[in-house]
């Protein structure tokens, strides 16, 4: 079901801040595009580049990794490592033709339901602008 129903987004959300932030968006009824699939992980620092690359291979148009704001990591440092990891993965993806805009790292706290829903919406727009991925896994 390529682009109809909107671009496919895989969201890796840290359990402590961002997953709770997504819950907050729910409890506050802040709607956002339905075509995101959220995978709960202990920490944004847990997200292995392999999972991102596999997501693209499985046909994702975009991958969102969300974690606690810098300094707020439940495990004190996880998000800093994540930040470095994806800062390097993005240009590599871009280099092989997967536009780096397709991999997003967002800081979403447990109280930022609004920020989460906006992030998904704007990511969706971005991906629509980019169109379907040239080569899908």
């Amino acid at each position: 079901m390529d682009m109809n129903g909107g671009p496919r987004i895989v969201g890796f959300l840290c359990n402590w801040c961002s997953y709770a932030g997504a819950d907050m968006a729910g409890t506050s009824r802040m709607s956002y595009p339905p075509n995101i699939r959220i995978i709960r992980v202990p920490c944004s620092g847990r997200v292995d580049p392999l999972l991102v690359v596999k997501s693209f291979q499985q046909g994702a148009d975009g991958v969102l990794v969300a974690g606690c704001h810098p300094g707020d990591c439940h495990y004190t440092e996880g998000n800093y490592y994540a930040r470095r990891r994806f800062a390097l993965l993005r240009p590599l993806l871009d280099f092989v033709g997967i536009e780096q805009e397709r991999l997003r790292l967002e800081w979403v706290s447990a109280s930022e339901g609004r920020k989460f829903s906006r992030a998904v919406a704007s990511f969706q727009e971005e991906l629509e602008r980019l169109g379907p991925r040239g080569h899908r896994g």
């Binding site: 470095r84 033709g97 040239g134």
Partner: protein
């Protein structure tokens, strides 16, 4: 200078300083080189040293953990030693590094060699090994630095063009894993790509699988590739693998001012972080 290698080897072997000296000898085509493992002073007579000595012999230290070994290293190869020491794979004091200065090496495949140097030599930051126990100076002008010309060519393309370029490359891949086997940074007991549980990639040899393999292979070398270029040299179907490594090398140097293997102490990019950094790159 060839004699210097032979003499040093004889000396180390007869003194029993090391059990084995790894150097180069002439290959069966009579024009290229191949690795030689000398265990006795006599064998040392077969050592050669010239611009066809392309192999990164330091990689073999992984096969000789704990055994006192001497190895001939060019500047690029020498970075291997720092990398492997830092990553706790080898003990520095078990290694005797015979460093050779390097004016660059040629493209050499069985039965054929080029006049010009390998392109990767253009981006090599070194002329003298970063680590050695004995240094041999090889005469010859080092070629001027060219940076990463092919890299820039590709970066100038549109994402779509790059996509097509790499699909063309990856679909040729036969997954012989020579690139991995020859790489000094690829020493995992069971490579993720060979793992069946979970099956990250699996055995299927097809473009999507090949792409995952090549992306992760490159990423696993981010901040670790010591630019010996062996992966590209050994590829039987001429995939320009160094482009992927060079891309990451450039990014890592840009973001973290780090170039792997120049010393054995500095923490690599993924082992550390700075609180104030990279918010822009997000």
């Amino acid at each position: 200078m060839v004699e210097e290698v032979r003499d040093k080897a004889r000396e180390l072997l007869s003194a029993g300083t090391v059990e084995c000296v790894i150097g180069y000898e002439r290959a069966t085509d009579g024009i290229t080189a191949r690795p030689l493992f000398a265990y006795s002073p006599e064998e040392a007579d077969r050592f050669i040293l010239d611009r066809t000595c392309v192999h990164n012999l330091a990689r073999y230290l992984l096969d000789r953990k704990g055994k006192p070994t001497a190895v001939v290293v060019k500047p690029c190869d020498s970075r291997t030693i720092n990398l492997l020491v830092h990553e706790n794979q080898i003990e520095r004091d078990k290694v005797f590094a015979i460093g050779v200065t390097c004016p660059g090496v040629v493209e050499a495949h069985w039965g054929e060699t080029t006049e010009g140097l390998q392109s990767r030599c253009g981006s090599c930051p070194l002329e003298v090994p970063v680590v050695y126990d004995h240094l041999i100076t090889v005469p010859g002008e080092r070629q001027p630095r060219t940076g990463f010309p092919e890299l820039e060519k590709l970066e100038a393309m549109s994402p779509q063009e790059r996509l097509e370029f790499w699909q063309q490359q990856f679909q040729r891949c036969i997954r012989c894993y020579a690139c991995r086997q020859v790489c000094p940074g690829c020493y995992c007991p069971i490579c993720f790509v060979d793992q069946l549980d979970p099956m990250w990639v699996g055995i299927k040899i097809a473009p999507p699988e090949n792409q995952v393999w090549h992306l992760i292979r490159a990423f696993h070398l981010a901040g670790r590739c010591i630019e010996c270029g062996e992966c590209q040299r050994v590829c039987p179907v001429n995939i320009p693998l160094m482009l992927l490594n060079q891309k990451l090398t450039a990014e890592v140097e840009g973001m973290f001012d780090f170039r792997p293997g120049l010393d054995a102490e500095t923490l690599p990019p993924f082992a550390t972080f700075r609180k104030e950094e990279l918010e822009a790159e997000r």
